[in-house]
């Protein structure tokens, strides 16, 4: 069995080895999400995952490689969720429901930990160029999904043709990421809801213009 690991240590793994590797990544992803990348040590990952240090080093040559694997796994999870959610959005009401789901999911922990991708970006963007490029691809894909929604709006006559859907998608992604960060700071999702709602209100206003 071979795993697809473009930004981290790629090795041929047995089923058992793949399971161990996945467990290490899942535990590391959780710790890095809750504590931040900088505050998470490999010793903590070893202790929390129940694997030995030699097992961890068999799969990851160091912390950077583990962080890259966490980015890849987190990105796959979020993109799968967003592809599924945004592919169904064809009206402004659908887009507001997408916002509600994002905000409500973040409310489960009072917004304390922010966006899993955004948190990783804040921690590694200045330190690891390979990780930064992987994050840039993931944010690009997410923005692309938003742009496709806005292009469907144009096709269906909801948005005028002369609106730049690429720029609107970028601005909406900025509102989402900034909303997550303000929610994390306030331990309250209200500013996140406000940030995304203001962006959607602007998009709705464009739809009403002649």
């Amino acid at each position: 069995m071979t795993t697809s690991v473009p930004v981290s240590d790629a090795k041929r793994l047995t089923a058992r080895g793949a399971k161990t590797r996945a467990k290490i990544i899942a535990v590391a992803a959780y710790l890095m999400y809750v504590k931040g990348v900088g505050m998470t040590t490999l010793d903590e990952v070893v202790a929390a995952s129940g694997v030995s240090k030699s097992q961890l080093y068999h799969h990851f040559s160091g912390k950077s490689m583990l962080v890259r694997a966490v980015i890849e796994a987190t990105g796959e999870r979020i993109m799968r969720r967003e592809r599924e959610a945004l592919s169904r959005v064809t009206t402004l009401a659908d887009l507001k429901r997408w916002r509600d789901v994002l905000v409500q999911n973040n409310a489960l922990r009072h917004g304390a930990y922010g966006c899993a991708l955004g948190s990783l970006a804040a921690d590694v963007a200045d330190h690891d160029d390979i990780a930064r490029l992987a994050l840039a691809d993931l944010f690009g894909e997410w923005q692309g999904l938003l742009a496709e929604v806005l292009q469907r709006f144009q096709h269906n006559g909801i948005l005028p043709d002369d609106v730049s859907t690429e720029q609107l998608a970028t601005g909406l992604m900025g509102a989402v990421q900034g909303g997550y960060l303000l929610a994390q700071t306030a331990h309250d999702v209200a500013p996140m809801a406000t940030s995304i709602t203001m962006a959607l209100d602007y998009i709705e206003g464009l739809s009403k213009q002649p």
């Binding site: 948190s119 970006a121 200045d126 840039a136 601005g171 900025g174 509102a175 900034g178 602007y202």
Partner: protein
């Protein structure tokens, strides 16, 4: 970090006090974007999710309030602005600064930050107020 929060708030109090119309708001927008994209500026530091959480929460709230007060003055002199909630818009502008800064750091280029802030300010700073804006989306691409 606390010193950076205080320095940015002092600078912003002075800069935003002079904003009373769309032209002034646009000048503030250009100035704040210049500061945020300067890696050595305290603005770049405060837009990273670092420092004491309570200090950061107070900073975000104070900056949002300063921006909202300026937006209220701009909205007071603008037509078609009665429906704008300047308090919420102040929050969305600060969110755009934070979110846009993350996207720009990852992409290593300033346009996501400029576009995010442009979208947040668009209700009071439409595209036709700024010749650098290229689209009806009201988003700066300068």
């Amino acid at each position: 970090m606390k010193a950076s929060f205080e320095e940015v708030l002092a600078r912003e109090a002075a800069a935003l006090a002079g904003v009373s119309d769309a032209e002034g708001l646009n000048r503030w927008r250009i100035g704040v974007l210049r500061m945020v994209t300067d890696a050595d500026s305290p603005y770049a530091r405060v837009l990273q999710p670092m420092g004491d959480l309570q200090d950061r929460a107070r900073f975000v709230e104070s900056w949002s309030d300063l921006i909202a007060a300026a937006l209220a003055r701009v909205a007071g002199g603008a037509s078609n602005s009665k429906s704008i909630n300047v308090s919420q818009m102040g929050v969305s502008v600060v969110a755009a600064l934070y979110g846009g800064a993350v996207l720009s750091r990852v992409a290593r280029e300033p346009s996501p930050l400029r576009i995010s802030v442009g979208l947040a300010l668009a209700p009071l700073l439409p595209a036709d107020e700024d010749p650098s804006r290229s689209s009806r989306a009201g988003l700066s691409v300068q």
